[in-house]
Amino acid sequence: MSNELVLHLVVNGEPARALVPASRTLLELLREDLGLTGTKHGCDVGDCGACTVLVNGLPRLACITVAADCAGEHVDTIEGVAVGGQPSAIQAAFDHHVAAQCGYCTPGFVMTLTHLFTEEPEADEASLRHALGSNICRCTGYVKILAAARDAQARMRNPA
């Protein structure tokens, strides 16, 4: 029986350690114990994708992931996406295309796309739209998000 446990995991490439109740979600661990508030707290029940992070490279919804289930795993959040202090191609494209209005969903979209373009650099329009079915944006109407995603994909395939 483990009501409270010491968790060791690797967050954005750095070892992290926290003493948490077993009922802690990964989202609570990241935001409240580790102070990484870039991952957003949206619907709380796995519908909206705002809390998307990567666990061992795969997208996971942090709000419905038990933190203890990630013991020993590699977790990547929006805070770890920048490359050498510069925004990643996806972040830069979101900025360039103004692909955010309130911006609350943006970290989730960036993490979903980070995984998609790593796994499937040649993803076609159908794959792109399918992957973005995991995330909800209530402001933009998705047009600029799709434009930013296509642009980021082109830049990642042909770095200037």
């Binding site: 483990s2 796995g46 998307t52 038990v66 995991s134």
Partner: protein
Amino acid sequence: MLPLPRFSWEAPDRLPDLVRLAAEPGARLVAGGTDLLPSMKHRIFRPGTLVSTRRVPELRTLRVGADHSLSLGAALSLRELARHAEVRTHFPSLALALGSVATPTIQGMATLGGNLMLDTRCMYYNQPSGWRAALGGCLKCEGTLCHVAPRGAGCYAAHSADTVPVLMLLGATAVFATPNGELPIAVGELYPEDGREGPRCPPGAVLVRVEVPAPQRAVAFRKLRQRAAIDYGLLLTAVAPTPEGWEAVISAVAPQPIRVAAPTREALADAVHKAVQPLPTHQQASTWRKRMLRVEVARALASLPA
């Protein structure tokens, strides 16, 4: 904020420990958690201990027979299975059903075993605790009245597991581990008539794997829903030829998936329309869902070779 209720956590890495821990009072198995954890946040379930199935090798094993039969570990993710070359090539309807669950992100978390063991769903049940309390609960949870069928005999919450209609037509078997050895149960036998119960898991048993016999016939699958992502099905339709004619399995309409047979391909849509009565367990009108039964069967048949 919807915090999880307090529980303790176990993540055994041996099957005997998983079976032992699952049988302890207040324990509940969790795999991907994509349905269980939202329900716990809504205070539908308050298990004292969550026992994770994810570290047990037997539940993460995929075996392919020389005849292309499959043995699929219950804790394999829907994503892994939907992308597996053998599944895609020899069981395209299963790949389609796996890939129709919720969203791509959820498919990477959710498991086959979790999908088979999915609780029944209803618009009066899968709601936050305050919402449910305002109606005084329902027959399935915290109350005595079914809001779907107040004069009915039981709970009509809908079986909603996308993979099950296809698995039934493929003749799949769920294999459980118990303290007394393995217990195989045909997938179609897992779902009781009353929606209160949810899937039948024998006491102290753990779903270890799903066995799919060698492919014998083409199966077609369709999921009717409002949006192409996230939504649970409004109708789940699987159809296939049989030696005597044709059959369909329809779900998302009752606590059990409903099997309907017809002598000819042309007669199947009418037979389904006659046998299946969707109830107002969903926000969409059940009269419309009833009309869509014929359409969905016709669309499923049209996706099969003539």
